[in-house]
Amino acid sequence: MVRFENVGMRYGPGPEVLRDVTFVLEAGSFTFLTGPSGAGKSTLLKLMFLAEPPSRGLVNLFGNDLATTKRSAFAALRRRIGVVFQDFRLLDHLSAFDNVALPLRLAGGKPDDYTQDVEELLGWVGLGDRMHAKPPTLSGGEQQRVAIARAVVARPDLLLADEPTGNVDAEIGQRLIRLFGELNRLGTTVLIATHDRSLIENARAREIRLVDGRLVEMRAGRT
């Protein structure tokens, strides 16, 4: 599903943020990405969701070597990826409902086909009564849940979540992780970057850790 080989990454003329990163995410796997702040977790995710090109090395996504894939094919690849951004990136002028519906809209869906799914999902993340609120009027944790709902609503092949439980309490955090688990059981490959040890201990999934831009295999997941 995702394969990195000797990937290096630097922003402009700055120092290398990622160094010789090599790993594989198998289709249908569930993986945690950990590491201290500034280790390069978000940067690694950015390479996976095609926000930045790697400085060197090979990135293979869904069997496509990105170096030889045409730019015009990137949009279709991106639509197969659900992303929970560390800073949410919700559209402030759209309601929670419209934010969550956006991926379905981009895939060409009609409101009549997806309205029920979106409403159900918003109910599941505990925002059934905040559906028509605009993001600026939502709390940090509520915004985060909208961001998560938006990332999973189209049942992407790959889900990348950057610190998805940073703003919610432990109970909601567990509930959201269960949502990711549910999606994973339906076939989505999941990678979650997090600091939250309790999440990782409870889930007992594979853990890879970034330290100083290098990747360390910490724990193999249950099989």
């Binding site: 926000a51 197969r80 559209l91 002028h93 981009l106």
Partner: protein
């Protein structure tokens, strides 16, 4: 029971009030409509001159420039009339009386005793069958034989000069229209770039989520299409009002510009001005689309 039709939020937030861009487009459209109107006026004037002058011939029988008057002038004139009347394609030919000839020169020479002594040419006005093609060289030859002092004038020289003037006006108007189109497109391109900048977070998120370039471009192009259509309609309507007002002045006898054709447009010609808002809207649509697509091609 059918599900209610649900409205979805606009991809780009709605902007309030008239932007400076709308003012620019409105003014450009006003100027474009004036130029277009001027070209229509010139076109109609040229057609009027052509219709008035073509289809007619004038024959002058000239008196000698020096010395005694030619006693045979009347005879020559009669001979020339005979030649013209026997020519195929000539409907009728008549001599213009001395009084009428005097009237024709009056604006330049004034009236009075001086004029009466001047050696005036005899003039013959001939009307042709509409669309008739006369062999002018042969006719000139025959006239020369019958009346050695005759000069044939088919007005083609004047028609060509007037048409030249009208064509110059028309092509200048087209040139101005082209310049206005370029300026409008530049203003739209500039505004689109500013709009992309202002909505950078939205654009980059949509791009990140795999929105096709066309989807993002559409959100912008319709915004500029609608606002250009509106602004240019206002500008075009003001120009139309100008032409209507000019028509009003002319109808009460005030000519804005003497010797020039009337500035008023006929209803059908006013209809042509609709091209201006439609053209502006199309330019806005196309420019915005191309600008957005070009900007999206530049990002990863």
């Amino acid at each position: 029971m059918s599900a209610p039709i649900r409205k979805r939020g606009r991809i780009l937030p709605r902007e309030a009030g008239a932007a400076p861009l709308d003012v620019v487009i409105g003014v450009m459209a006003f100027l474009a409509a004036l130029a277009l109107g001027a070209s229509l006026v010139a076109d109609r004037a040229a057609e009027g001159w052509r219709a008035g002058l073509s289809g007619r011939l004038t024959v002058q029988v000239l008196p000698p420039e020096h010395g005694a008057p030619n006693p045979a002038l009347a005879q020559e004139t009669a001979a020339a009339l005979d030649v013209l009347r026997s020519t195929d394609g000539v409907v009728h030919a008549d001599e213009i009386s001395q009084e009428e000839t005097l009237k024709l020169v009056e604006p330049w020479l004034g009236s009075g005793a001086v004029i009466a002594d001047l050696p005036l040419p005899r003039l013959i006005d001939a009307t042709l069958v509409p669309g008739a093609r006369i062999d002018l060289a042969a006719l000139t030859q025959r006239l020369k034989q019958a009346a050695p002092d005759s000069v044939l004038d088919d007005h083609s020289h004047w028609i060509a000069r007037l048409k030249g003037v009208a064509d110059a006006v028309i092509w200048s108007a087209y040139g101005i229209l082209a310049l206005i189109a370029i300026a409008t497109a530049s203003a739209i391109a500039f505004a689109t770039r500013a709009g992309l900048e202002a909505h950078h977070d939205i654009v980059s998120l949509l791009h990140q989520m795999g929105a096709r370039a066309g989807f993002i471009a559409r959100a912008f192009e319709w915004h500029y299409f609608i606002s250009a259509l509106f602004a240019a309609s206002v500008g075009g309507a003001l120009a139309a009002a100008f032409f209507v007002a000019a028509g009003g002045l002319e109808s009460v006898g005030i000519e804005p510009v003497p010797f020039l054709p009337p500035l008023s447009l006929q209803p059908a010609e006013l209809g042509w001005l609709i091209v201006v808002p439609l053209g502006s809207a199309f330019i806005a649509w196309a420019t915005a689309r191309l600008s957005v697509l070009a900007a999206l091609r530049r990002i990863y």
